[in-house]
């Protein structure tokens, strides 16, 4: 695994750990109920997927394969474009429905989380379209 990717993973997981620890210390387990539980579950699932992907790439690197080539770059560009367009509409709807959210933090946090989900979904769609 490239050193900078390893470092990035460590930083991401340390940050997640510190934030989670801070929340638990200040709010106990009250935070992990209802909608919050769903949000935390999505974040953790995203983290696990990122971790698995990183290790898969590490394995490929050890086998002497490149981790980025012209097809993966094309998939990244296409899915990035779709995710960007979908995110723009999502933010538009979020601002139109801003009164439905309990507070600004929930609105922004939810928006960021859905943006990440859209990026994941668009990558999946681009790969599926390529397979058809």
């Amino acid at each position: 695994m490239k050193k900078n990717r390893k470092l990035l993973l460590i930083i991401v997981f340390l940050t997640m750990g510190v934030v989670l620890g801070y929340i638990i210390i200040n709010n106990g387990t009250k935070m992990f109920q209802g909608l919050n539980l769903l949000i935390f579950a999505l974040i953790i699932i995203g983290g696990v997927i990122a971790f698995i992907t990183a290790f898969k790439r590490d394995k490929e690197e050890k086998e002497g394969l490149t981790t980025d080539d012209e097809l993966s770059t094309l998939i990244k560009y296409k899915s990035g474009y779709y995710a960007y367009m979908a995110s723009m509409y999502m933010w538009l709807f979020i601002f139109l429905l801003k009164d439905k959210f309990p507070d600004t933090e929930t609105m922004l946090g939810g928006g960021i989380l859905v943006s990440a989900l859209l990026a994941f979904i668009s990558k999946f769609i681009v790969k599926q379209k390529l397979n058809d």
């Binding site: 490929e60 002497g64 394969l65 490149t66 097809l71 993966s72 390529l130 397979n131």
Partner: protein
Amino acid sequence: MTNRIKELRARENLTQLDLAKLVDVRRETIVFLEKGKYNPSLKLAYDISKIFKSKIEEVFIFDNE
């Protein structure tokens, strides 16, 4: 565009992984190429043809349809 990668790879006794390593792409790219789901760049087409010691037009068959 169709191609003869699978056939030529079998002739040279190469696995998809071997070919991917030789032309510096991911194995997934070779899979998509063989299925005809992806048209390679001129550089990749050239690199693959070089591995099989053939001309580009012998490996990749262009049709107008």
